[in-house]
């Protein structure tokens, strides 16, 4: 089994990056590997509660995220400094099972992986 980390670094709307990262992550989880995800930089905006993008003609990305553990993506990491720089607290996140980690822990996490997929 390989350790594969998806790194999602873009805001949920404005570009398709975050949505297509999530699609790839959900597809990947079906292949029996150790699939994990790290949200950092503007990617942490994906985790906010109460996203209402209907006016943009978009579906809510945040609403899809609670399904991740059902897809066997159990290790969901969030970069602590990215949250802090954007004034987001843990209570505003749509998932309560995330692991909030600092920059040093991020570098250790990256070093443990067999493959990184960057979005």
């Amino acid at each position: 089994m390989k350790k594969i980390l998806f790194v999602s670094r873009h805001a949920p709307y404005g570009t398709s990056t975050a949505r297509e990262a999530l699609e790839a992550l959900l597809a990947a989880s079906a292949y029996g590997q150790d699939t994990q995800v790290l949200f950092m930089d503007d990617g942490v905006f994906q985790l906010l509660h109460h996203q209402e993008p209907a006016a943009l003609g978009q579906k809510s990305l945040g609403a899809s995220l609670p399904a991740l553990p059902l897809y066997d993506v159990e290790n969901i990491y969030v970069h602590c400094e990215s949250l802090r720089e954007r004034g987001i607290t843990k209570t505003e996140l749509v998932l309560d099972s995330v692991q909030i980690i600092d920059s040093q822990a991020v570098s250790r996490l990256l070093a443990q992986q067999d493959q990184l997929l960057s979005f």
């Binding site: 699609e23 597809a27 292949y31 990184l116 997929l117 960057s118």
Partner: protein
């Protein structure tokens, strides 16, 4: 070493696709193996048969085709990303009743599973365009 590449950027818009191509050529020159190139997101435009840049500029879809033909490399285009962006092969053009197909020869529509398979089978998976 066995490599796979994921290309997420359109040709002729950013440097990423050209860099991916140069990287592919360099690794092959050094005796490594290129298992698969997976085109995702805007990267699907690399597979357009209709790209017609000015004559004094490189034609990236043609360059990918030439590389793949010479070294027997799989060029897989994510079908979900491609259909959204109007990149269709004959079968999909018929299925969706579109007036024509435009997927260049040498490129194959495939699923995200083939990206995962590349991640599992390769020693290195390198992302271009993000």
């Amino acid at each position: 070493m066995k490599f796979s590449l994921i290309v997420q950027a359109a040709p002729h818009s950013t440097q990423a696709s050209t860099s991916a191509l140069s990287f592919a050529e360099a690794l092959l020159r050094q005796g490594h193996e290129l298992h698969r190139v997976f085109f995702y997101r805007e990267g699907v435009h690399n597979a357009s048969a209709l790209t017609a840049p000015p004559q004094d500029e490189p034609n990236l879809p043609q360059a990918w085709q030439a590389l793949a033909g010479k070294h027997q490399i799989e060029l897989i285009v994510c079908i979900a990303a491609a259909l959204r962006r109007g990149l269709l092969n004959e079968a999909e053009a018929q299925r969706y009743q579109k007036p024509s197909a435009n997927l260049a020869p040498g490129f194959i529509l495939g699923g995200l599973g083939q990206l995962l398979e590349a991640a599992v089978e390769s020693d290195r998976l390198i992302t271009f365009g993000n």
